[in-house]
Symmetry: C2
Subunit: 388 residues, 2 copies
């Protein structure tokens, strides 16, 4: 077994902790408690698919100075010892009497004085990955210490990707790009959509994905109504637009982009919609700069689409991307998050076609000081046709 | 697009709701609030991989009588409309001002009188899949209504599988069984472990998995030290024991079992360990009956392994299985959950070999009134050898 399980050198993780501690100092937090797979991976490098089991909670405590402490089920000790984390406290989970609560309360109680505050992500796009009754016990045990919302503290650090992270996301995008080129090998008239989804996942693995955490798509005449359903066994028909979307994972980093294909010759309606989305993406990529707000991207897309006579469809028109399939911010009219250089983002405009159907187009980018750098291989300007 | 997205007839879901409502009545709950992917799928049939995005919360409210209400992001409305749920309330998520909290408070406030209690899973093996700050707002808005732990209410219903569910788990087991038979095609001396993991996932898709939510494994001389790490690129060596474990998903139902292989001729140590695990599983399958407690299974395994001079290794020695990779109970010395007919369980004994290494063996079963019915194709009694 290799001595380290880390994808990056320990210095990468130390820099993240230093950045978190700087934010903690501003907010006056003595410790930060992290429970989500993404936050644990981000701070420690601990990468496993074992999160799929909801049985056990996992805790990382980041003190205001010094290295994080892992308070985790014993089953994870071997793997955590191969990260950079020096102090690892374990218990035999699941324990119906006390599932790590006393151990965690002890660690936090030693680090945080009674007048101190413990940060915990509590806001939009966060979950507490531990039983809520245990959280209430923990709060009572640690009183008068306060728990404070640390969503911003974590998000402002995680949202700026290092060059090492950007390289990982670029690699995930590249492998998915090779698969999108191969879609005509396994999609075409008469092929059931569920078989296409299966072959799409196989191709992602063949091209180098470690695993495929997300596949979505849709197919229908001049567009699809829904982009989150599992595939049906209905065969693709001439005149359908097929969309495939994936969050393939390599070294713990996601891509998230889609491609559209006409089955047979593309209709004028589908061709126009695709081109409007492609051109709107060109326009937004040319305009986007650090200092824009997330809501500005929604407005820019809406203007670009309306300028071409297209009707903006779908919900949010893009979002952050990294160690989860979607990260904040959201390109909606309401999200006023400032966009900064180093953010990795998806541009995901949707466009209504007819009868409640739509097309969705998606690219992955990193925002640089001087504008947008593409991470996904750019979609073709014209809707590709399969078997026309 | 098909009219229904349901895997089972609506009667299956109605029976589940009736069973939940019977438990709710005993506990005096006027409503049950569910937020996890598994609980949403279980009650509504809503199946999607979109849970991979942490951006949005989803809520199901089960009243004490009548049908559940879905309070969900608008992006899920199309798919939810193709389940059996008649009332669907939506909002445009994510909304940084109010991410469904007022809508949910309105629905719950109408259903539950001020003196009433709202059940929420809060205990072991549960998470609240919504921002904890929003939960606190919800509680304050609904006061003086009480929130009570409904972990037992949900678990006692979900833990008994219908014949329709058992058939789905049997199908997932069967497809994984076909893949385990094919492992010698892609694993052998010199093959890197990460390539084996990749081909294993490809084979699972080829044999009919909709997606592969979990793959784990390990390889080393006479066993492995860790069963939750991603695969390294180290090539398999003659003398290694290779273990592969999967949670492959078909129609939303998981299998979860593993198989071991010797690379080259098996050593006496590995052969003995494998046979001890196999025989202990035979013994436990012969002895297990409804009325046993979860901790009895741990004791039975420990006795059976010690009877063969083997040392029990690993943590828990099995668990529940169904709509998640692992469900309660846990076969530990501490879990006193009564085992009942209709429970689907994994039997997962581990056995220490040498130098901190172990072998783990796993089968999936359903407990019947008269004993155990295997769902996974039974492992061979003798450790299979690849390329000996």
């Amino acid at each position: 077994m290799p001595e380290t399980s880390l994808i990056f050198p320990a210095s990468e993780y130390r820099a993240r902790i230093t950045a978190l501690q700087a934010r903690m100092a501003v907010q006056g937090l003595t410790a930060l408690l992290l429970t989500s797979p993404a936050d644990v991976f981000y701070t420690t490098g601990f990468l496993t698919r074992f999160w799929e089991s909801p049985a056990r909670p996992w805790f990382i405590v980041v003190p205001s100075q010094g290295d994080p402490v892992a308070v985790i089920p014993a089953i994870g000790a071997d793997l955590m010892r191969r990260t950079w984390i020096p102090r690892i406290e374990t218990w035999d989970a699941p324990d119906p009497r006390d599932d790590g609560v006393s151990l965690l309360a002890g660690v936090l109680g030693d680090i945080v004085p009674e007048s101190g505050a413990i940060g915990l992500p509590m806001g939009l796009e966060t979950h507490l990955r531990m039983p809520v009754a245990d959280y209430e016990t923990l709060r009572a045990r640690l009183a008068p210490r306060r728990f404070e919302d640390a969503t911003g503290c974590v998000q402002k650090v995680r949202e700026i990707k290092s060059e090492a992270e950007i390289a990982k996301i670029r690699a995930s995008c590249a492998l998915a790009g090779r698969v999108f080129d191969r879609v005509p090998e396994f999609a075409g008239e008469g092929r059931p959509l569920d078989a296409v989804f299966r072959d799409f996942q196989i191709a992602l693995l063949q091209e180098g994905a470690d695993w495929v955490s997300y596949v979505a798509g849709g197919a229908g005449p001049d567009g699809y109504g829904d982009v989150i359903s599992p595939a049906s066994s209905d065969p693709l028909q001439r005149g359908d637009v097929l969309m495939l979307d994936t969050g393939a994972v390599k070294d713990g980093y996601f891509c998230d982009f889609d491609r559209n294909y006409a089955i047979g010759p593309a209709s004028d309606c589908a061709r126009r919609a695709h081109h409007a989305l492609w051109q709107a993406t060109e326009d937004v990529m040319a305009a986007l700069r650090p200092g824009h707000l997330a809501c500005d991207v929604h407005r820019l897309f809406d203007e670009a689409l309306r300028g071409q006579g297209a009707e903006t469809g779908g919900g949010r028109l893009g979002h952050g991307l990294g160690v989860t399939l979607t990260e904040w911010p959201s390109f909606t009219p309401l999200d006023r998050t400032p966009l900064r250089a180093g953010m990795v983002l998806t541009l995901e405009p949707g466009c209504a076609t007819r009868d409640g159907r739509m097309l969705v187009h998606e690219e992955n980018i990193v925002l640089r000081e001087d504008g947008v750098e593409l991470l996904s291989p750019r979609a073709p300007a014209d809707l590709p046709e399969i078997g026309s």
